[in-house]
């Protein structure tokens, strides 16, 4: 947890719009606004949580940060360098510092490769290592994620979901990345394995000082492991800041209803569920004002007209709402 204040990844007003296929010629082209003007800053060594419901643009944002998806607008800085302005070669070199852990451990490992080749592949691609060095490194990585040398010649089909996720993690950290995007790393696993994988991730962070962008819809997990959190809805940031502050006093109506959905053990003192009416608007026709205005129980005329900006309502706590709930 050293140099905690240094910004590692900075996203400025990022927009990712996908053109909609079809449509008549000469009509206005339609776009799916998957990410619509998001800015975040991730400090070195921290775990940054990104929460929101399905289809709100979390994964697209993750992909864009990794340079897998060209942004329509906006800039992404990694170690103070503008990713999309770099020449191809330098871009590739810089991006090696960022890796990803995938949601589905079943499809993220090539079934034709054995474990050794899966983990060795990134090093083989980068080059500059002898076979012995690679073998030693693979062995080291396997031990680091809690597997053994005997697993090297085995194939992904021989492993359980949790073990496969460990292999995926070993592959992701093979090149000593500084930044890892974890795209719902535990949601495809059995509940009993969740804690194991999360503990592994936290241990790795302590040992290697890796920064995480933790994409999840499991609020309980985010609350436990993230130091900062951002809540997304329909491609826009609703609320962001230090995890404790947001969980203690959510100010955005959307965050409130989201948090009320977290299951608690204490049945008698369970918070009142805030159930939202209606469906998420289509990301093709986003509301002109606040994205949440169509479902917000407190929406007023102004909310439908102008989009609220993120404003710092208390130190380290930003909310995008015209009428934040200060109680």
């Amino acid at each position: 947890m050293n140099n905690h204040d240094k910004t590692l990844v900075k996203v400025e007003n990022l927009k990712v719009h996908f053109p909609v296929k079809g449509g008549l010629p000469f009509t206005k082209k339609k776009f799916v606004k998957a990410v619509d003007g998001v800015s975040i800053e991730i400090h070195a060594g921290e775990t940054f949580g990104l929460v929101g419901e399905s289809g709100c643009g979390k994964s697209t944002l993750g992909n864009a940060i990794l340079g897998m998806q060209k942004p329509t607008e906006g800039k992404i800085y990694f170690k103070d360098q503008d990713l999309n302005a770099l020449p191809r070669k330098e871009f590739k070199d810089l991006r090696r510092g960022m890796q990803m852990i995938f949601q589905d451990p079943f499809s993220s490992l090539n079934p034709r490769f054995d474990v050794y080749h899966i983990i060795a592949e990134p090093m083989e691609i980068r080059g500059g290592m002898t076979d012995e060095e690679i073998r030693a490194r693979v062995s080291e990585l396997l031990h680091l994620v809690g597997l053994s040398d005997d697993d090297m010649p085995r194939y992904p089909s021989d492993f359980s979901g949790g073990q496969r996720q460990r292999i995926g993690i070993a592959r992701a950290i093979a090149l000593n990345p500084e930044f890892l995007v974890c795209d719902e790393p535990v949601s495809a696993l059995d509940v009993s394995v969740h804690a194991q994988i999360l503990n592994l991730l936290m241990d790795l962070q302590k040992e290697l000082g890796i920064t995480y962008l933790f994409i999840s819809h499991n609020l309980a997990v985010v609350k436990d492991i993230c130091s900062h959190v951002a809540v997304m809805y329909l491609g826009s940031m609703m609320e962001t800041g230090e995890t404790q502050k947001i969980f203690k006093r959510p100010m955005h109506p959307y965050t409130r209803s989201l948090l009320s959905a977290v299951l608690t053990v204490d049945v008698d003192n369970a918070p009142q569920r805030i159930i939202l009416e209606g469906d998420i608007p289509s990301p093709i026709n986003t509301p002109p004002g606040c994205p949440f205005s169509t479902r917000c129980p407190y929406a007023k005329e102004e909310c439908k007209k102008s989009k609220p900006e993120l404003t710092e309502l208390e130190p380290g706590h930003f909310v995008a709402c015209h009428f934040p709930m200060m109680d």
């Binding site: 897998m68 590739k92 090696r96 079943f106 490992l109 990134p122």
Partner: protein, 326 residues
């Protein structure tokens, strides 16, 4: 090399595959060592004294009525043409289909549109009449037959490969490789090509069998190379030489069995491969499969079933996960 060997061992372990492998092995042996095995020179048309002999120890399948060629020797030499045309066409088809399919699927964009439009056009052109026209135009040679079948044969395969490549291209392990800085070439050779190789191998075996029948048909119609000896041409000779008139049934049956065995063996190998690559494949009746193969709809069905099996697997995995979570 190691992979090829283990694949052959796998086919050998499959009961149907073993039959196919044995027959194909014998045929290949005959084709390669034809001059050593054949008792007479089948091209020798000067044996005037020995015309139209019945089977005997000197001539196991007799001689032809018109020119007195030894039918047994012709049969052995005929394997050369049949296997050569079938295998070369099958392999070339697989190669072009793979390149085009991967181009369309992986490179995408303009390349994809271009290849797929060409495929659309090629698919609606009937091959057989075109072959007849072109062989008449450019001369009757096996080169021409192979050329035409290759030019029109890769289209269906390219479509299937493209679909598979699109699936692989978006898979997470390709994404992970890209994150490590892998170039297009690396991803194509390490992830995409091995991912579609089973389709290629299977297609080669099955389409080779189909081409052998087509070659025999063309030769029978007199569209093959008139100087070569092939099973189809033997049938044509038997027809024109009056084998039926003189009751020389062996002259007709011999090349028929040759054609049958070569097609049968390749089909067995193809079907065995398909069960090796896709163990969940339901064992449909052999005749039904043969019928579908000859109608060129079989391979599509196989691929559809493989997709279905994969989806089923994913669904089961999801179900398991759901069950465990509860």
């Amino acid at each position: 090399m190691k992979g090829a060997l283990s694949l052959i061992v796998k086919i050998w372990k499959h009961p149907q595959g073993r039959v196919g492998l044995l027959i194909a092995g014998v045929l290949v042996f005959c084709a390669i060592f034809a001059p050593l095995i054949a008792p007479y020179d089948p091209y020798d048309v000067t044996a005037r004294a020995e015309k139209g002999l019945s089977p005997s120890w000197q001539h196991p399948l007799g001689t032809t009525i018109s020119t007195g060629q030894d039918i047994f020797s012709m049969l052995i030499y005929g394997a050369r043409v049949s296997l050569m045309v079938g295998l070369i066409t099958g392999i070339l088809t697989a190669l072009i289909g793979a390149v085009m399919g991967i181009c369309a699927g992986y490179v995408g964009g303009l390349c994809d549109t271009l290849v797929m439009r060409v495929v659309d056009v090629m698919l609606v052109i009937p091959t057989l009449p075109l072959t007849i026209v072109l062989t008449n135009l450019f001369g009757k040679s096996y080169f021409m037959i192979i050329f035409i079948f290759v030019i029109f044969g890769w289209t269906g395969l390219a479509r299937v490969i493209r679909a598979q490549v699109l699936v692989l291209k978006n898979s997470n392990y390709v994404k992970a490789a890209e994150l490590s800085g892998a170039g297009r070439w690396h991803i194509m050779m390490r992830h995409i090509l091995p991912g579609v190789s089973h389709l290629l191998i299977m297609n080669t075996a099955l389409s080779s069998a189909g081409i052998m029948v087509a070659e025999a048909g063309l030769s029978f119609l007199g569209l093959g190379d008139p100087t070569a000896i092939s099973w189809g041409k033997m049938l044509a000779d038997a027809q024109s030489g009056g084998a039926l008139l003189f009751g020389h049934w062996w002259w007709i049956v011999a090349p028929g069995i040759g054609i049958f065995l070569s097609v049968f063996s390749f089909m067995r190998i193809g079907l065995a491969l398909e069960e090796i690559f896709n163990p969940r494949m339901k064992r449909a009746g052999a005749m039904h499969r043969l019928f579908r193969t000859l109608n060129n709809t079989y391979i599509q069905k196989v691929f559809a079933e493989m997709d279905e099996a994969e989806r089923e697997e994913a669904r089961e995995a999801a179900k398991e996960k759901g069950g465990a979570a509860v």
